[in-house]
Amino acid sequence: MGSSSTPEPPPLDDATLVALDEVEEGEAILAQQADTGEVAHEATLGGEEAGGGRGWATAAWGAPGFAWLGFFLLAPLIFIVLVSFWTRTDIGFSKTWTLDNYSQLFHDQTYWHNMLTSFETSLIAVFLCLLIGFPVAYFLALKVEKMQYQIGLFVVALAPFWTSFLTRSVAWTYPLMGREGALNQVLTKLGVSSLDDPLFDIGFSTTSVRLAMVQLYVLFMVTPLFFNLSQLDRTALEAARDLGGNWFSTFRAVILPQIMPGVVIGSIFIFVLTMGEYGTVTVIGGNGVSSVGTIVQSKVVAIQYPQGAASAVLLLLALVVGVFVITRFANLRKEL
């Protein structure tokens, strides 16, 4: 009894650790959507009772948010869906049920053509924003050492947003991309192009609309990517290199899976924002370019509320499908 032996850690330790893991799970879910399967599995193993108690508290915290959503999002949405099934009159609509608005839309070539163009625009915007946004976010989050510099550079990157939307978009038309715009002026000075035979004359075109959108929305990609990337454990990236990964394989195997939430969120942002765009299209595209958004807008201006509502509802459905596809795509990548 008086003998001393090396003490074994008490078995209690493991129990405590399991309990701690429980607490951390909440954060882990936020941090890693990909692991949901595993998390759910563990939750059933460990804490049924704790889960029930927390559910009510969470709901209570969420209540004001749900009220807000209900009032500002759900109510108008329901109203629009209702209107889309009502009959058009000269002064607006009457509450007579009809499917005419939709059947007219289904035969409207321009509408579907615009839908496709908008879709193409959105895909291009998402793709280009990823391509341009990732290096920016990567540099800011992982190559800039000091927090102050990170924040400073981030604010600089936000600079375009300090000016109003209109100023920014107008700058894209004649002053920048037009026949005698800055780009051609510079190229002429450099001797690459001449003002008589300019390389760029894409003011008021689909291309300029798309380019402008990328510039206008790229920060919606940079921001989520930046936050995801800055949460990465830098030593884990070093460990990957240490274990034999080159830059690319480290990116694929360690960085990409962990920033997938950011990629998805950024893509959804840009997809949704560009799909419904009508401001940029009107200002930069002028009369030459139209989109689903401009159609909705023109119908509203023409007091064709039910048709406008129906076009908006279809647009919304397209958005829902798009968002669904984006999230599925992200999950698919995970499983591969």
Partner: protein
């Protein structure tokens, strides 16, 4: 030869086999010198611990060897071949990082497999080798868990298994036990050391914990302020510190700072301002009478004798400041004219010292326990 224990070590002449750091220096932009003129030779199969206080450049040294930091000057040779311009993923070294740095989105097995995957090993073989490594660290039944569902000790073992599968020539460990609680630390010391013996690999382990270094190392490298102060086996480090810094850092040393008052052959007598006289054997030292000198005497080598008065050499009359009972030993905090001294006596003697603060007492030690220090 007594080259061990010298303040600066020259890399072994047989620099062909093993790891050699040659005049390795790292100056960070902004002028911070993290590592300065470090020379070290480590043999294959040797367990070397880099020990030093926080900020002394241990991590930076390890990162340079692993290829995560580029040296300002100097060279790193493995079996005679320079690693300096080699990318980290091409180096035959792997690192166990300070906080394990596991991949949170990969299961334990996937974490362990990672290195093999990067080296293009096929799926079947990858899995087999990884499970073997997990078995070696006793975690095969947790292979499907995610790292966050593991305890610190388990994460530690995953980190080990993850580097071991890549069959490194040298394993670099940065404070591998730092994140574990004390009991687990004690257990992992033994496990880690056994693992290293079993594998016969070169381990370079960084820590600021003296006890950990003493208990695990074949050789200890004591660093401070970007420089190496002493390279020696644990017994030498503990009993024959080469410099004042090592003596202070290893703890529980009495440092007597004074002037040489006598010299006969290799024997010096040093006397401090309070008249404490200590004799010491210092072969090969050229210190002459009148020059300043420092002598360390371990607290554990100090004997406490009750009778006040007695021989003046290797002895001192002190006042007890505080009696600290630590279970199996008693630390007597003493003072000689304001100079602090420390004596460690067995715990059973606590009753004879309890409550005697303020009283006078005499301590003495043997000449062999004195150790001349370098600045």
């Amino acid at each position: 030869m007594a080259t061990e224990g010298a303040a600066t070590a020259v890399p072994s002449s047989s620099g062909v086999s093993g790891l050699d750091l040659v005049k390795l220096t790292k100056v960070f932009p902004g002028g911070g010198v993290a590592v300065s003129d470090v020379n070290l030779h480590v043999d294959h199969g040797e367990y070397v611990v880099l020990l030093g206080p926080s900020g002394c450049g241990k991590t930076t040294t390890l990162r340079m060897i692993g290829g995560h930091e580029f040296p300002t000057s100097g060279d790193i040779l493995l079996d005679g071949e320079s690693l300096v311009y080699m990318q980290p993923h091409k180096r035959p070294t792997t690192t166990v990082f300070q906080h394990f740095a596991l991949f949170p989105h990969r299961t334990v097995l996937q974490n362990v497999e990672f290195g093999l995957k990067m080296h293009g090993v096929g799926k079947e073989e990858r899995r087999k080798t990884s499970l073997e490594a997990l078995e070696m660290v006793g975690l095969e039944q947790l292979s499907d868990r995610y790292p966050r569902a593991l305890s610190g000790g388990q994460q530690q073992r995953v980190a080990l298994a993850r580097v071991l599968v890549t069959k490194p020539t040298a394993l670099l460990l940065d404070e591998p036990l730092g994140d574990l609680d004390r009991l687990l630390q004690l257990r992992m010391r033994v496990e880690l050391r056994n693992l290293q013996r079993q594998l016969g690999l070169m381990f370079l382990h960084v820590t600021h914990n003296q006890e950990e270094a003493l208990s695990m190392a074949d050789r200890i490298v004591v660093m401070n302020d970007a420089r190496i102060h002493q390279i020696a086996d644990p017994l030498t480090i503990a009993t024959k510190p080469a410099t004042e810094l090592v003596a202070r850092f290893m703890g529980d040393n009495n440092i007597i700072r004074g002037k040489v008052v006598e010299r006969e052959g290799t024997r010096l007598v040093v006397e401090d301002d309070h008249g404490v006289r200590v004799s010491v054997q210092a072969p090969g030292e050229a210190t002459s009478v009148g020059e300043p000198a420092m002598v360390a005497v371990r607290a554990a080598a100090v004997e406490v004798v009750e009778n006040v008065g007695g021989p003046a050499l290797n002895s001192a009359e002190c006042e007890i400041v505080f009696v600290e009972f630590l279970g199996d030993l008693v630390k007597l905090h003493l003072t000689v004219g304001g100079e602090r001294m420390l004596a460690k006596v067995p715990g059973e003697r606590y009753p004879s010292f309890r409550g005697r603060e303020g009283e006078k007492i005499r301590i003495s030690w043997r000449e062999d326990d004195g150790q001349l220090l370098h600045a």
